[in-house]
Symmetry: C2
């Protein structure tokens, strides 16, 4: 009977297509509800469009239109001025999950896994039955291609409903049109907010957005400069796991471990490779394919105990502390700004950079939880704040010592906006929907260091502000008592009350000047990045 | 140049294997850190083992052994007494992602997506390079099969390192041995805690567990009864989306919509099918393959506007309020227990049942956040509490009206343990790691209704308890003043003080009896499910 059971069970075993898997688990891809679905579709298309423009070295201009078709249906049209997509690739890129150009290259990009836009097509098909409509033009003289696509979920392959040549605009580019079941609502987690934050973190992008209320917003580019192009890199030896190393050793064309190490990894020269082999107790001229598990284990130990310089900075393009601060100034009116850009470091062999910025005071409410803006590779993260590494880093930072109030394991309370930005060749997200950064210790540590650095400067400002306020209060109290004190002193000393009173006033005046000087020099600090001119005006008042 | 760019970009486009995808995104599968990795590996193996035993109608006996091998490496050995796995299927089941028997059947099970155990094998390979070792025996008279397996991640196919017949125990079953990088720690999110909670929600399972400290725990089964076997069902028409409907219409062998509706869906008889067609304005004898998108849209409208009875209960096997309460009593010593089992309902055409239980008072701290125990298909969920639908349901329930304190959008504070359990043919998880239930409105609504039902009973108890306490205090204050009041009354009335005092005491005595009676009848309520006998003892004290 038992054998029968095993045999019976065996008959039910079969392959599951990744498209079927995500069809049923759409919430994993950001399609949990109608409102979020609208954001996810726009996000996937816009991220791809900006990536494509940057790869083609064109300043991106993205046109987004959302039309309310009633009955919870929306038409989303997104058009870019990028290089276009060659005909042959269109069906796979838009109607096959796990297909793309970015997964196998270690290079900073918004997209990564070859799922996003096909998932949007899948969602449209599921909720309205309508195909995705794609226009692509790759050359100015030639016609454009027009496709209507479905996904055959059982095979995870594109199903082509229409395939035509068509006339379409002068320039090159891609346009996608999707009908989906959705819900449009303004607010922190809206498409409007996503596009605004995208404009902040991407000052080289022009976004023209028409929302379902037919309101048009134009976020014009503030910079004509494309971000420095991120370069593709090889993995860094630190953090490379044994399973990956075994795979690399099998696949390599190198003939010796020495050349394997120098060719397949970044930051490993001949000397470092030799040191790794020495520490591993392996000959540098061993053939990679001859290495057995115990050898590979030793090699890992060798890597761990060798000092190897951090990965190269130019493979990633952070926003930059100046631009980050400028973006924040544009968005959040406040009285004190600070930004910090950390040096690159690695998690699991993958380089990343953490940047943070703070905006303190101004009209921000002092009795509410601080506002946290999160970015990954310049893409705003609007959902899953609670699960994000940046939230953990903020809650684990002691903001009390920087003058804010904070309960244990909570976001601090105060008139503060905190920006935490990660750029990496491979940001680790907690889900395919790419809404939150996973809790890697290395990442949380870097975030905390960045926040502490910014926090200390904030603390100095807040404390000084508090000290000045206290001093000012003392002076004004003293001022009120001058007549009484003066007549008492006059009685005791015989000096004329008027003289004493004047001497005291003049003393107080100096004190006030001193406080003012503190306040002004303070101002200088808070606008560090302004012209020297301002400082000259205030030159006389040294602390 | 642009064309070149499009062409250049095209050359980089390629397929991504699902194994490569998860190799890099292992945190999606519950391998975020070493401690969680240990739990995830045990969980995937134990869940599969219990599923297999239940399918073979054998009372499960699961043996788990974790050996600390030093240097953050652990050997995990899990053995069951299930039906075993036929030789041919072993490699695919353990070393191929998205392969399994449960995805395509609508039937309640712990496993669902054909990823879990292969992901554990992948994690072992990544972190220690060691293959998975599998023993399987499907028949008492015959030898067992022994495999050593890796996953070829580039192709997502098993790589067989060893394939032998071997002698292994008398009975049938499966044993898996994995060496992984991990970390063992006790506490709420530990393997120990997971197994303890598993025993609570699965009283028919015996678990023998040896932890890395070589401590052995035996959770002996409390029930010799296997849970009623869940049956496989067809989808319910409510919540079936248009994309799925189109797919079903294409695939069906039915010749008319009438027979399509009655054959492919549950709870649709001839009458209901006719009503759906009438409301959709379609002829019942149309051929499914002739339906165009506008017809399918009408069919969806027809389904929505037809009253169809809820899906059958017997496809899912809830824990049951009695067993749930018994489990809770075993785990949490408290003074008041209540459990609620809701009727089945549907989300997206998929039936589910919500059950909840509360344990109030006892030694539980009154000034801390309540303890929340979450289950999905009898599997304890230990991570991602913040992202779970059950957490949202608890925070959105107004616990103040049930006598607890609670800040807005927070878990309540008080000496309370809350159990929320979901059973479904397809529980929607927020991630492949299956740690939290996704925020589907229908699910949250059911959870809130269950919590409110339990909460009202809790509120009645808490309020009555409070009222009795107040009354008791009044009585004891009055008692203290009896001598004074008695002498005053004696002075006024001329009656002897002694007499008055005795009359008052006797009055008070009656009052005390009354309070006691309330307390006792109260006790009856709190142990509703105890024998009548107890009630007879207290029979005299009616309210």
């Amino acid at each position: 009977m038992s054998e029968n059971t095993a045999e019976q069970l065996a008959t039910k075993q079969r392959d599951i297509s990744v498209a079927e898997f995500f069809e049923r688990n759409r919430h994993l891809l950001g399609f949990d509800n109608k409102r979020k679905a609208l954001l996810t579709v726009v996000k996937e298309a816009v991220d791809n469009a900006i990536d494509a423009c940057e790869e083609a070295k064109k300043l991106p201009e993205i046109n987004i239109q959302i039309i309310d078709m009633g009955n919870d249906r929306y038409r989303i049209i997104i058009e870019d001025n990028g290089p276009g997509i060659v005909k042959k690739q269109i069906p796979n890129i838009f109607a096959k999950l796990l297909y793309g150009s970015k997964f196998h290259t270690m290079k900073q990009a918004r997209g990564q896994q070859g799922i996003g836009i096909s998932a949007a097509v899948l969602y449209a098909q599921l909720t309205t039955g309508r195909p995705a409509k794609i226009w692509s033009k790759i050359s100015i003289g030639k016609p454009a291609h027009y496709y209507e696509l479905h996904i055959d979920t059982q095979s995870n392959k594109p199903e082509i409903l229409k395939d035509e040549e068509t006339e379409w605009k002068e320039d090159t580019g891609v346009k996608i049109e999707l009908d989906i079941e959705a819900n449009y609502q303004k607010g922190d987690q809206s498409v409007d907010s996503y596009l605004k934050q995208t404009a902040i973190a991407n000052p080289h992008v022009t976004i023209i957005y028409t929302n379902p209320k037919a309101e048009q917003f134009i976020f014009a580019r503030a910079s004509e400069q494309l971000p420095k192009e991120p370069t593709e890199i090889k993995p860094h030896p630190y953090g490379v796991e044994i399973g990956i190393l075994i795979k690399m050793l099998k696949a390599t064309e190198a003939r010796t471990i020495q050349s394997f190490l120098t060719n397949e990894f970044s930051r490993v020269g001949a000397g470092t490779a030799k040191e790794i082999c020495d520490k591993a107790g392996l000959f540098t001229n061993m053939k990679p394919k001859d290495l057995q598990l115990p050898h590979v284990e030793k090699l890992i130990e060798g890597i761990k105990s060798t000092k190897i310089i951090a990965p190269s900075t130019d493979c990633i393009t952070p926003i930059g502390d100046q631009l980050l601060e400028a973006g924040l100034r544009k968005e959040i009116p406040a009285e004190f700004y600070i930004s910090v850009s950390r040096s690159p470091t690695v998690y699991k062999g993958i380089p990343f950079v953490i940047e943070t910025a703070l905006a303190y005071g101004g009209d921000q409410p002092g009795d509410k939880t601080v506002r946290l803006l999160r970015f990954a590779n310049r893409v705003p993260l609007l959902y899953q704040q609670g699960s994000c590494a940046s939230t953990k880093a903020v809650t684990q930072t002691n903001w009390r010592s920087y003058g804010l109030s904070q309960s244990q394991n909570s976001l601090p309370v105060g008139s503060l906006t905190i920006v935490v930005s990660l750029v990496s060749v491979w940001p680790p997200f907690t889900s395919e929907a790419k809404e939150a950064i996973a809790h890697y210790d290395e990442i949380i540590k870097e975030m905390k260091l960045a926040l502490q650095e910014a926090g200390r400067k904030l603390g100095a400002y807040v404390n000084k502000k508090r000290k000045i306020a206290v001093q000012q209060e003392r002076v004004s109290i003293f001022e009120n008592y001058i007549p009484e004190v003066a007549s008492a002193l006059s009685n005791l000393s015989g000096i004329g009350k008027q003289n004493i009173q004047e001497a005291m006033k003049s003393m107080l005046e100096k004190n006030k000047e001193y406080i003012q000087a503190h306040k002004e020099s303070h101002k200088v600090e808070k606008t560090e990045k302004q012209d020297k001119e301002d400082q000259i005006k205030l030159g006389g008042f040294d602390e």
